[in-house]
Symmetry: C2
Subunit: 620 residues, 2 copies
């Protein structure tokens, strides 16, 4: 392809709204243009790389036996009403009415469409397992699209869905998809961090996210310096830095008469002291000696609260006919060691609640009979108390005393208070220890590129999918889903592979493998450039020939900016050597070297094939 | 690919709403399923063929230098407002509002999006000509979608757009696109009828449609039995079967005193006679001796009517600020020889009207002072009279007399009446003569698969696209557009290539090239089938191996239904020969033949390559 015919409008200036490298470089290198906020057009160079990512994903999906199909992008709203997501999805779902007043959605994902197709065709257990996928347009009406295609409104997603007769079969496909995902990202040259939802329980995980490190990541990741432990902070655990105790052990320790024991708890005046930091300063104690007690409001709680303090009068309701009964609103207290924070996602999971957030001040005052800042576990009876495991190890602690400007000291778990539920709700942070190997944990910000997930029966039940098993009995299949965002994957390749001068494409997803830069595209130089282009093309190497009548500096800058892996410079000086020479340079390196023109095609082809082979090499 | 893993749900029964072969067979052969009215999902087998059509189109577009890009499917409404199509397009345009109340459209075509991209990047004449295309999802909210993907709501279209400095450059790209379209359809195995909008003027055509014959076609085509003349009936012309005359010639002939002349016209009573047929029977004359006069209502007439009869008081209006001034509503009379019909599309073109239709009865009565059925050119002053060329040759004709139950006989053009405008508004029909070669014309029903069109300045002007020419002067580029419907193309392949038993794929777009049918997939038969599969795959041949535990009859039926070009049957009997034999059969032929197993792979590969090579062979 001749550069002058390739429509590569590179830019010197940076778009004003582009704060991350991939966004800047996709515009500057002429890969992408903006149609509207969150809507982008891939230009020819960008689309070439995009298609390579797409093809890698397609090959790996096919390799694990998934079959590609193509439903529509615009999906009947009826299917979304069947699954319940028409109501459950918020405003990010783009809903459309057509001229006949029928409801449609512009697909953000396609569980409903795929399940509807399979429902009509599935009859026998012999058809299972079945994995189908598409690589197709999706739309999410982001309130604040930004970072270019990293968070756009319209994007392309590979979404696969699988159906199974049993959990074992689902797990096999789920594991195979996980391996395929690792290969996909490796082939694209990406370092991903696979994050299991429940990293502690090996093999039992039902969800794994594939993250890349990113300064603007949506997710905080907890990683171990010694082993490959990686978790989303929302679900991360850590090795205990305390000795957990049963309530009996704690009580016995507080009450024993020989050796050390805990004095009876007593009130202390703490005027105008509300936060843990203020309390530490006022009492000259470490934050680990305090118990922090927070009041939370939980929504749609599925947990049985019939025996919980303060919950006797609460009633359960069904939000939908097929849904389980829940308590619409419940307040909880959560107690944790003073140096730690409560993780609301963990707390919500423990309560089986759809949402958990700090209670409003008025609710705190009502439930604790004290201003905000003086909640404590001792004497708290108006609501259920959730105890983090750290608290079970505390024998002599300071806590709020449920009254203004008053705390208790010498409180002891087991002797002075006990919890209604004891769980892990601790937010893990950098410096904590890995629960697998004891190594030091650290944090990274991450962006999710892919997600594999055991859906279970959510869609197959709500949409009435069934098949006949070996005994002719009707059964409901279980289901998995597996997504990858293509635009985000491509942008992440650039995030990981660039320098000041531009993109540095891995050969597997480079728009072209070689850029040939004739110093002046004329005479013998032109002939040599054309000949080398033909030789490389013959070898299956994709060549961009910079035939423009521009200064060499302009061409070199564009070669660096567009990030083509190998650059060949052809000039009169090199060609006039006794054996004609050209200069070759690997984009990733600073040095260039001369090589005989006659040997250039073979050498370049070998290097490119080796790089791609290394990227494609199976993971050990 | 093993059949049992390929998700090919073939059907014995025919979907009740499937009236055409492609619709029936796409469902029966497991290529397609319905999600909702006009919305379809391609299953794995259908998608494989679909992707091959897509790849053929992509290759031919790239070959003519068009560059693939990928804008979004959901396009900002603002762009459509700029071009004026937001208002001009009817309800088939799917309009969406998002959560921020911004307007969007789900693209039916993409002139606006492409023009917006080019507008921002185009600066110099050196960038022209430029051709860009996409192969992407489109949506048209058809009131009555039917015939499967032949007329669906969502579909995939290849749409290309080009920009040029001058008409000559546009014409070069337009011609190249036309040649590419011929190659695309030939490679897909399709017989298309290229229909020029204005077939008479060679090289001056600005629009060409690529039609396939179809019983349910939207278009009536006029074709010549002797030459390659083909036109849409809306625009078709024919050789005159009369001698056209100027008004002076006609008048002189009617009034000459020596030899034959036309007697003075006179009233004749024609009680209860209204139609031409009734009149022929009543007067015992041929329909060619009558002048048929019809009253039409035209909307948005651009033609200057300041000197036209009955139009003195009409006022022009501008429907939009940038649009030319038009008369919102005008009535016309059109006179034509009695055996012919007026073509409303031709009439609208002659009047530069956006729409022409027969006037309501009340308007006819008001304008002719007579009941419907008695309009005639003599004495008609209330409105402009349009004369078809055929009328100029009529010297002694019967016409309506503008009064109930009365006609005139012996009327003569030039002597008794003249027209305000004399044009060709004749509807050409089977049996008329070709204007190019005099051959007999015949008709076919056709469906449009592709369309190439010289857009001119419509979008570049309304959207303010400009570039600097050689002299640094700002210019507006001219533009072409070129579309192909992929779904319709695929369905048309099946329409043209099928029989009672199923699809008969051309090798170029077959989902697989070979289906191997082991009589029983077991023992030596299985080993031979697996080995042959491996050999063929090694040769680049795509194989579907029917590994199912089904009766041979079931497998043979499915092989015929799915239409894989070559079937190989492997059984114990053939394998037990001194040199083991298998049976091969070309789907298009009735006979099968035995061939040595050892030679089967090479022979099949040769046949398939030859078929594809013949389809790919350049058009002379």
């Amino acid at each position: 392809m001749n550069y002058s015919s390739a429509f590569i409008p590179t830019l010197r200036e940076v778009p004003s709204d582009a704060v991350i490298a991939s966004h800047r470089l996709m515009f500057r290198a002429g890969l992408l243009r903006k149609l509207a906020n969150g809507l982008f057009a891939y230009l020819p160079l960008g689309l070439r790389s995009f298609r390579k990512v797409e093809q890698i994903i397609r090959e790996e999906m096919n390799a694990v036996g998934a079959l590609e199909i193509k439903p529509t992008v615009v999906i009947p709203g009826e299917l979304w009403k069947e699954s319940g997501r028409w109501d459950a999805m918020g405003e990010s779902l783009l809903r459309v009415k057509n001229r006949l007043d029928n409801d449609f959605v512009v697909s953000p994902t396609a569980e409903e469409a795929f399940t509807a197709i399979v429902r009509d065709e599935l009859s026998s257990y012999r058809q299972l397992p079945l994995s189908l996928y598409q690589i197709n347009t999706k739309f999410r009406d982001e309130i604040r699209p930004r970072y270019g295609v990293m968070r756009g409104r319209e994007f392309i997603m590979k979404d696969a869905y699988s159906w199974h007769a049993d959990e074992k079969s689902l797990d096999e496909t789920y594991q195979a998809m996980g391996r395929a995902y690792r290969r996909i990202f490796k082939r694209c040259g990406l370092s991903v961090i696979p994050v299991k939802a429940d990293s502690g329980a090996m093999g039992g995980s039902g969800s794994e996210e594939f993250m890349v490190e990113s300064e603007i990541g949506d997710n905080t990741l907890i990683l171990c310096k010694k082993c490959d432990y990686a978790a989303n902070v929302e679900k991360a655990g850590c090795a205990p830095d305390f000795t957990p105790r049963t309530i009996e052990e704690a009580k016995a320790a507080a009450e024993r008469t020989e050796g050390s024991h805990t004095p009876p708890f007593e009130k202390i005046e703490t005027p105008n002291v509300k936060t843990i930091d203020e309390l530490c300063a006022f009492l000259k104690m470490e934050s680990t000696q305090f118990i922090k007690t927070l009041i939370y409001r939980a929504v749609n709680v599925e947990l049985d609260l019939s025996s919980a303090p303060g919950c006797a009068k609460l009633e359960r309701k069904k939000p939908a006919p097929d849904a389980p009964a829940v308590y619409p609103e419940v307040f909880f207290a959560a107690a944790i060691r003073g140096d730690l924070d409560v993780n609301e996602v963990k707390l919500a999971a423990a309560l089986k609640a759809s949402e958990v957030s700090l209670a409003a001040d008025t609710d705190v005052v009502r439930l604790t009979n004290a201003p905000v800042g003086f909640a404590g576990p001792v004497g708290l009876t108006a609501l259920p108390l959730i105890i983090d495991h750290t608290v079970t190890a505390m024998n002599d602690a300071v806590t709020g005393a449920l009254a203004k400007d008053l705390h208790y000291q010498h409180t002891a778990y087991g002797r002075d208070f006990e919890g209604w539920l004891t769980v892990d709700v601790r937010t893990v942070k950098a410096g904590d220890r890995c629960s697998l190997c004891g190594g030091e944990l650290y944090t990274k910000m991450g962006n999710e590129l892919g997600h594999i997930f055991k859906l279970g029966y959510k869609y197959t039940r709500s949409m009435n999918v069934s098949y006949l098993d070996e005994n002719g009995k009707s059964q409901t299949p279980t289901m998995g889903c597996y997504g990858i965002g293509l635009d985000r994957t491509l942008a992440s390749v650039i995030e990981e592979h660039h320098d000041e001068a531009g993109v540095i494409w891995p050969a597997s997803v480079a728009p072209y493998h070689v850029i040939i830069v004739p110093i002046k595209y004329d005479g013998e130089v032109k002939d040599s450039a054309d000949k080398l282009t033909a030789e490389l093309t013959q070898l299956g190497i994709e060549v961009l020939l910079d035939d423009r009548n521009e200064r060499p500096g302009v061409k070199f800058n564009d070669a660096d900016l567009t990030g083509i892996p190998w650059r060949v410079v052809i000039g009169d000086k090199g060609l006039s050597q006794s054996t004609p020479q050209v200069e070759i340079k690997y984009r990733r390196e600073k040095e260039n070297r001369n090589i005989e023109l006659e040997k250039a095609a073979a050498e370049l082809a070998k290097n490119i094939r080796e790089e791609i082979a290394a990227l494609n090499k199976p993971i050990g």
